[in-house]
Amino acid sequence: MRNMLAIVERELRGYFISPIAYVVLTMFVFLSGIFFRAILSQVMAMEMVNSMRSQQFGGGAPVALDMPGMISRGFLSTMSVILLFMIPMITMGLFSEEKKRGTIELLLTAPITDAQVVLGKFFAAASFFVILLLSTWVPMSVLYIYGDPASGPILTGYLGLLLYGFALLAIGLFISTLTENQIVAAVLSFGTIMVLWLVDVLANTAQSGTREVLTYLSILSHLDDFMKGILSTSHVIFYLSLILVGLFMTYRSIDSLRWRG
């Protein structure tokens, strides 16, 4: 346990020694800010149209829109897309750099199991991802100060993003074992994530049987319910199994790395 924590600590420290952490954090905060503002003005414009319409056509009070809810939902969904671009940068160096520097030889001959190494790396990336998500406290607190959003959907939305992020991290972790080059790992992870994202589009044109399979595989479609405030076991299981598959493939890949030498 303690040797695994040593790996987590080293890796997290590594993020903040290199510029990667700062670049990713800055970009994320910047983009999330811009999108928050865009969504805010969009929802306000909708509200305006809505109230004008009810005034024109008379009748009782205007139909109230759940403005904070719409904003938080729109914001969290946008986050899921931005994260798509950020996650390959978090995972690209995890194993590829170890291979390039030769430090993988240290990790694989130290008195620790391969599973501890894999989990240590994963927890480090996951911790950094949590830091990334926590940075959205600024727009979120704006929402709470000036509005009164329902906390339920926001909490499930964050839980969904966490699971979604961890699943993508596990995939990225696996891909970083395949190459010695960080850039190659990043591009491959990005491509893989894109495919998992776009199977949704493919599903629309597919036959009914394949359509269901493809829709099920789409990483984004499972987020919708979380955003609506619905906590469904099947979606949680989808992400958890993706995490497990990613971690297991990483573990196997490290093992085959030993055989290939």
């Binding site: 790996i7 590594g14 520097r101 030889e105 001959t109 030498g261």
Partner: protein
């Protein structure tokens, strides 16, 4: 302490090591000598459990590397061919990390890191970023890492590479000091290193062990191959064929020919003095014997001879 039996490592298109067996006694320093690509690194990687063997077994302190890898790894300090350093870390921070994954208890972490830094003389760079260190310092940080947690077995792949002569001297001193209480396996292609530090040498070539002995015995054993150098005035081709036909002569080579005079290198059978026969043969054939001398082989020659056999 280390028992290697019939170790084989095959890749799809290459056999890296082929049926290697040897023993290393407790407290011994064993040197692995061989040209690059001979299988030294592969053998060491299998002993440390970095990679599995295709065939054969390795036991360290009676633990099988494949069956109980963690027990073996706990007993080994390993310096790979390229020191496994994180360039963005500080020396002391790096060593603390390695100490932690090796399971050094928290209470003695600082003392242990200080101890190994003292041993390899790098305390002065403890706060420096590893990327900024010179090659010699990096190499010594790599050695320090292997010494952490004081493992009974040390596997050092080319420990003195990249060091200056003074540092080489220090590291050799350190290795000798470790012997007795530690078992050391080191690889090198620098011959004086084996002669000065190792109790026993294994010469490995193309994945096979071709000699195992003490440096002294190896030299003695091969000195038995009588090597004679002669300078003769006469027709070179004829001389070679004549001398080759003589009893006790194994090999004759013309090395350097200048206007009718030629230098020959002759190798004779073990422990048989062929010098007088050679001299007589030359004189009787009417050639001019200009020089004749017996050569002893240095370990370097032995190494070259053994590793270029049938080449």
């Amino acid at each position: 302490m280390i028992t290697v039996e019939n170790l084989t490592k095959r890749y799809p298109n290459k056999t890296a090591i082929d049926g290697v067996s040897f023993n290393v006694e407790k407290g011994e320093i064993l040197g692995f000598l061989g040209p690059n690509g001979a299988g030294k690194t592969t053998t060491m990687r299998i002993i440390t459990g970095y990679m599995p063997a295709t065939n054969g077994t390795v036991r360290v302190d009676n633990f099988d590397v494949f069956e109980s890898p963690l027990d073996v790894r706990r007993r080994i300090g390993y310096l790979p061919e390229n020191p496994p350093l994180y360039p963005d870390m500080e020396t002391a921070g790096y060593l603390r990390f390695v100490a932690k994954i090796k399971g050094v208890p928290k209470s003695s972490l600082d003392d242990e890191v200080a101890r190994v830094m003292e041993k390899v003389n790098i305390t002065d760079v403890k706060d420096r970023i590893i990327a900024k260190l010179s090659k010699g310092y990096k190499q010594r940080v790599g050695i320090a890492q292997a010494l952490l947690n004081d493992p009974p077995v040390l596997i050092l792949d080319e420990p003195t590479i990249g060091l200056d002569p003074k540092q080489i001297h220090e590291i050799r001193g350190l290795i000798k000091e470790l012997a007795g209480s530690h078992t050391v396996v080191l690889s090198t292609h620098i011959l004086p290193e084996v002669e000065q530090t190792c109790h026993r040498v294994i010469i490995i070539e193309r994945g096979k062990i071709i000699a195992v002995d003490t440096p002294q015995n190896l030299r003695f054993q091969l000195k038995g191959v009588e090597r004679v150098s002669m300078e003769i005035a006469g027709p070179a081709a004829e001389i070679v064929s004549k001398l080759k036909a003589m009893p006790g002569v194994l090999d004759v080579r013309a090395v350097d020919e200048t206007d009718g005079r030629c230098r020959f290198q002759i190798e004779g059978e073990l422990k048989r003095d062929i010098r007088s026969d050679l001299a007589r043969a030359v004189v009787e054939s009417g050639w001019g014997l200009l020089e004749l001398q017996s050569e002893t082989m240095s370990l370097e020659d032995i190494f070259l001879k053994l590793t270029t056999a049938e080449g």
